[in-house]
Symmetry: C2
Subunit: 225 residues, 2 copies
DNA sequence: TCCTCTTTGTGTACGCTGTACACAAGAGCA
DNA sequence: TGCTCTTGTGTACAGCGTACACAAAGAGGA
């Protein structure tokens, strides 16, 4: 804090992360860079790991620089959260894409619903940090259909589930009368299991058992909806 | 921090909370008191509101005093979490108790399962802070059947659900082959809905709609299990 | 009663966080 | 060239968890 007051422009090897030593003074795209640093942090440690000072440190920028692009840490986290939701949407879309329209629309509809569920569960297991971040509880919630949270189809995870349910109705697999609100029921089940698996009593259960439970759960939803 | 250095034993009206000005030097039961302060904090603000310094402040004790009773904030939070789980168990038991053994054991079993589900959902809505705390993600997890987390019956919420499912099997309402792991499926659904209601898109939905969804969800579980 | 030991609360200090405010470097435009 | 707006810097503060040394007071024995 004092000593001989060496000029603070010294290499700063204490910072732990390579400060890229940009020479332009302006960073160029700090907003995006912060977002990406935040995502990297979230992947590893979930929402609470998205710490403003660490993100700026990784970019070799002073903490306050972040405030030119985000009003607060909360706001940065909101951005990271949107990215996490988008990643989840993409994961679901990927699982959905090989499901070409089958000749039996009913089978196809069921297969698609199942695909949404299992992609969701797999994402929760493989990208736990992002998953937790995607559902981190933020204050207020405008959260209305922000395209930032969507996948390549333009739909966010919730909407992808809704679309799958719509197909179930079209395929005659789900009575239209039961359709309203069905996404909440289906989502509840799958999301609940995801949580049970990543921090609940099912944490460290063997993979095989989890897969089995996943299948049974999706079955339960199909049957009970 | 400096000024005239008034004697620090002054009333300290800045503390915001009445410092009870105990004169015994020893508090007497600081551990319990901290736990209770922690619970009060959790009720209002969930797990992240359980802040060590605030708890000690409320008791008119210096922050470090807490370390004589809890190894860390995490450890205090663990205690609060156990209390929250216990409160949930009690809430479930309360809902269960008026259900006297009916002459139709099958009906009774279904009624009990339903009671567990609706008590769970109601608790999540009425005691959101405690609910969130009960399922806060803590590091490691010994978490094995600690009686601290149980209700008056000695069973924790998870075990209460298991017991309800056992009765379903006894009553012939659930094939025994489906029993293993069924608590995970049922719990997933109900817990997922609870989360959807307290911080998901169902937050601020009208009470009536939530109740309706709750019923439909429990139905879905019964039917699909 | 006095002495000693152990328990439990106190004082001080550190590093970390988010963030407010004034300032400076540089880009874009006149 | 000079002006202005944007964006990064410096300094500062309060709040957090927590480490370490110290002190007050019970508990137990002499």
């Amino acid at each position: 804090m004092d000593s001989v007051h060496i000029k603070p422009r010294a290499p700063r090897s204490k910072g732990r992360r390579r400060p890229p030593r940009r020479r332009t003074y302006r960073h160029g795209d700090l907003r995006r860079a912060l977002l990406e640093a935040g995502i990297a942090l979230a992947r590893v440690g979930g929402p609470e790991a998205v710490v403003l000072r660490e993100a700026t440190r990784r970019l070799g920028v002073v903490p306050n620089a972040a405030y030119r692009h985000f009003a607060s840490r909360q706001e940065l986290l909101r951005g990271v959260r949107a990215a996490a939701l988008s990643a989840l949407a993409v994961a679901i879309e990927k699982e959905l894409s090989p499901l070409a329209p089958s000749d039996l629309p009913a089978d196809m509809a069921r297969a698609r619903l199942r695909a949404v569920g299992s992609a969701y569960l797999r994402f929760a297991q493989k990208e736990t940090g992002l998953f937790r971040t995607a559902f981190a509880v933020l204050d207020d919630a405008p959260t209305a259909a922000d395209p930032e949270m969507a996948g390549e189809s333009g739909l966010n995870p919730f909407q992808l589930l809704g679309a799958a349910l719509d197909r179930m109705v079209e395929g005659g697999e789900l009575p239209a009368a039961r359709r309203p609100g069905a996404e909440y029921l289906a989502w509840s089940a799958v999301h609940g299991l995801a949580i049970l698996m990543i921090d609940g009593p099912l944490r460290r259960s063997p993979r095989a058992q989890l897969d089995d439970l996943g299948h049974r759960l999706v079955e339960m939803v199909e049957k009970g909806l």
